[in-house]
């Protein structure tokens, strides 16, 4: 196993690295790339991986759990409540109608038994969370109505898995009491129904309460160590712990993870969690799609190609029809309805689990089971093709523009604030408070966990995280925001972040905090238009106050302040250019001081005598140009 593990890794990773970019380049999306990679290395084509594909799939399903956790992080509890109609109405009707119609066809037309038909109907009603959400996120469709509704339906399906798992043993032809042969071990299976309910509710409560009160001190403690990998480990631990807990009580781990995500959606660690889990999720999900691709039994398809084609297309078209009907019923726009219906038309990964479970309950024969599994896998593999047809062929017919992230119905799915503030110390905090007072929302990132904690306590929404990380900037909305205010305490970091932003988010305006002259020059060299030396204004205000105490009038002092600042900023450019030549630099410095003196002295003089107050200037000239100073 030791070196064969690496060979396996080589095959999986290699195929993905080869095919996914290719698929993306061809505009087919990453999901199809992974599926093709799986088909390629699977038993049917190259045969580099054998039947362990199914094991990999079980392992990789963890990626789905992570994905739901990430989605939960972006769904605040209030949002979930607002979507209740979509989740219960749309989701409930989708599962119910699909189960009834497919069950009916299986029973009456195909002639399967009632129990078999009901099982198939329910299981085929499931869609693939992994495929749908991956595709939607990739295309920025999550924020559209269709994306939200699709998500609501998937969420309902996730919940529906629990009663379906409970129902299947009842449909078993075996004696119910004798068939306690569940495929996965839970601590609840031997309990009375009421006790089982109690345990399940307890587990859900544990997630909510634990998520709300336990995670913060833990994250805070871990963050204080300043070890980034430890934070990643903690984030992973959280998701794994939820998965174990949920599996123990017989609930869907994905659902548990989603719940935990929702609980943590308001947490200051949200963005950090997101960027820590994200790469794991991506990798596992990719692995999962590869495994699905590899598990397609092309031998069986070759034997009965017609039958399987009819079954796959039949199921998908029926689902499509029902989804289309529902989206009209829920008054979705035509472009949204296309997106929604085509996205959810496949049968999802839950079907693998549920069919296996049903087979263990002896509802299906092995032959029927194999056939059903092929249909599921093939429909998943066809799903990206369906989406492609919809996007490239049907959509252009219906609307000129594909629903995009800038659509009018964008919701608060992610941070969409126009301003990001990096660093909420004594500089950034004032700027932030000022913007807030003016009704401008800001997303605040700060890497000091103690500070984040105390700011949270007084009700300021600050996220913990190192703003130098591109992924974190992304989840803070850097590609949608208009402005970033870089107010980090360390001037080297300010410069580093400026360069990162310039490179990766070129459309973002930058306001940068500078500490002294040296870093001011460097920021100017880096092309920052708005550099603010943190002490210049305050020092000048102190100087202005000193002038006033010395008897200078307030307005004169204020003008001196303005003149000084304007001139100083102008001469900065000269000095920045001259700073590498010591002699030139000293000259520039000297002339800066001299210029300022004359500038300010002239100002008050001019204000006093050069304003017109009705004097006849020709008279003055006649009067021998006597130098009369006007004093009004």
């Amino acid at each position: 196993m030791d070196h064969s593990f690496f060979v396996q890794a080589l095959i999986y990773l290699g195929s993905a690295v080869l095919l996914v970019p290719l698929s993306k380049k061809l505009g087919l999306g990453s999901v199809l790339g992974y599926l093709l990679a799986g088909i390629l290395i699977g038993p049917s084509v190259l045969g580099w991986i054998g039947n362990d594909g199914a094991d990999i799939m079980h392992f990789a399903e963890f990626g789905v759990v992570m994905m739901l956790f990430l989605i939960g992080l972006e769904v605040e509890p209030q949002l979930l409540w607002r979507w209740r109609t979509a989740i219960l109405g749309l989701g409930g009707l989708q599962v119910l109608i699909t189960a009834l119609i497919i069950g009916f066809i299986a029973h009456i037309i195909v002639g399967l038994s009632f129990n078999q038909s009901l099982s198939i109907g329910l299981i085929f009603a499931m869609s693939s969370t992994a495929i749908v959400l991956q595709t939607m996120t990739e295309n920025n469709w999550m924020q559209t109505i269709a994306g939200r509704n699709a998500f609501s339906v998937l969420l309902f399906q996730d919940i529906a898995v629990i009663p379906i798992l409970a129902l299947l043993p009842l449909l078993s032809p075996d004696d119910i009491t004798a068939s306690a042969t569940q495929s996965h071990v839970t601590i609840t299976q031997n309990l009375e129904p009421w006790a089982r309910t109690l345990v399940v509710l307890g587990a859900v409560a544990a997630i909510i309460i634990g998520g709300k009160y336990l995670t913060r001190p833990i994250f805070q403690m871990v963050a204080a160590t300043n070890l980034r990998e430890l934070f990643s480990a903690t984030a992973l631990l959280l998701v794994v712990a939820i998965t174990v807990l949920m599996s123990l009580v017989g609930l869907s781990p994905a659902l548990g993870a989603f719940l935990a995500g929702v609980v943590l959606a308001n947490s200051e660690y949200r963005h950090e969690l997101e960027s820590d889990i994200e790469p794991f999720k991506g990798l596992l999900l990719g692995l999962f799609f590869i495994a699905v691709g590899a598990s397609i039994d092309f031998g069986l398809i070759a034997q009965r190609p017609g039958l399987i084609a009819i079954l796959v297309l039949g199921v998908m078209l029926i689902k499509l029809g029902i989804l289309a009907f529902l989206s009209r019923m829920f008054r979705m726009r035509v472009d949204q309805f296309l997106l929604f219906a085509f996205a959810l038309a496949q049968v999802g990964e839950f079907a693998f689990v549920l069919f296996s479970f049903a087979k263990d309950q002896h509802i299906f024969s092995t032959e029927l089971f194999n056939l059903l599994m092929v249909v599921v896998a093939a429909s998943m593999a066809l799903s990206p093709v369906f989406m492609l047809v919809m996007e490239k062929v049907l959509m252009p017919l219906v609307v000129k523009k594909i629903p995009h992230r800038n659509g009018p119905e964008a919701d608060a799915f992610e941070e969409n604030n126009p301003v990001i503030i990096a660093g909420y110390g004594r500089f950034g905090s004032v700027t932030g408070r000022f913007l807030k007072a003016n009704g401008i929302n800001t997303t605040v990132l700060d890497a000091n966990s103690d500070r984040v904690e105390s700011l949270r306590k007084i009700g300021i929404k600050v996220y913990y995280g190192d703003a130098l990380r591109i992924d974190l900037l992304k989840s803070a909305g850097a590609d949608r925001a208009r402005l970033i205010i870089i107010a980090l305490d360390d001037s080297a970091q300010v410069l580093q972040l400026v360069n990162t932003v310039k490179k990766h988010f070129p459309n973002l305006h930058i306001i940068a905090r500078a500490h002294g002259l040296d870093d001011t020059y460097e920021l100017m060299d880096a092309g920052v238009l708005h550099v603010f030396r943190e002490t210049i204004d305050t020092s000048l205000r102190a100087g202005t106050e000193a002038l006033k105490i010395m008897g200078v009038r307030a307005y004169t002092a204020q003008r001196a302040y303005d003149l000084f600042l304007q001139h100083d900023e102008k001469s900065l450019k000269k000095m920045a250019a001259a700073r590498h030549d010591k002699k030139k630099y000293i000259n520039a410095m000297r002339s800066r001081i001299e210029e300022l003196e004359t500038l300010i002295q002239n100002d008050i003089h001019e204000r006093a005598i050069h304003t017109h107050t009705g004097k006849d200037m020709s008279e003055v000239r006649k009067e021998d140009e006597e130098t009369v100073e006007e004093e009004d």
């Binding site: 009038r553 204000r607 006093a608 009705g614 009004d632």
Partner: protein
């Protein structure tokens, strides 16, 4: 006792002997409050509520300023714009200034003769005072003729001091006896009123 509010605007007051003298003279009169606008609001952010409450408490309001480009300095315009607002100073509900007295006390380097239809400044001073006159009218106040120092640049110390003394006497009088608008109907300058009645 009448209360007098002297609103002063001069961007370079420290260089204006005449205006400083006027201010000092007024400061020696009881019941006079001075608002030195350029000192109070060097950044032009006028505290409307504060200024309005001061105006409400006074009976005579004086705008003291150099006659910059035949008008008031920028901050005094800002003051009028920000403080004399609809619903407070004028309009259906705006009656807070009703019955109060308003006039300008200004300094100009032009001669008195230059302010006539035929001379250099082409209009009499009263023509230039139309905006303040009308402001007073809209706010249901009584507008009095201006108190003027001509040839301010050439005024020697004694002329300047005389002018300031006259101003002080005028204010003293206004603080004890409410000015009757009818008395000023025919006057061109308030200076003339003082000459006739006090001296």
């Amino acid at each position: 006792m009448n209360k007098i509010l002297l609103v002063v605007a001069h961007p370079a007051l420290e260089k204006s002997r005449n205006n400083i003298r006027l201010m000092k003279a007024a400061g020696n009169v009881e019941n006079v409050i001075i608002r030195d606008l350029y000192e109070l609001y060097p950044r032009f952010s006028i505290n409307t509520a504060k200024e309005q409450s001061l105006l409400e408490q006074s009976d005579v309001i004086i705008l003291q300023h150099p006659f910059y480009w035949y008008s008031i300095p920028a901050l005094m315009k800002q003051y009028l714009d920000m403080v004399f607002t609809h619903g407070w100073a004028y309009g259906k509900e705006g009656n807070k200034l009703e019955g109060k007295v308003l006039f300008n006390a200004l300094t100009t380097s032009g001669t008195r003769e230059s302010y006539s239809w035929e001379a250099h400044n082409r209009f009499p001073l009263s023509a230039y005072m139309v905006p303040y006159n009308q402001l007073a009218h809209v706010c249901r106040m009584h507008y009095l003729p201006p108190f003027v120092l001509h040839e301010s640049g050439r005024a020697d110390a004694s002329a300047s001091a005389r002018h300031a003394r006259q101003f002080k006497l005028l204010l003293k009088r206004f603080s004890t006896e409410r000015p009757d608008p009818a008395q000023f109907k025919e006057l061109e300058y308030l200076n003339d009123y003082e000459v006739e009645n006090v001296l």
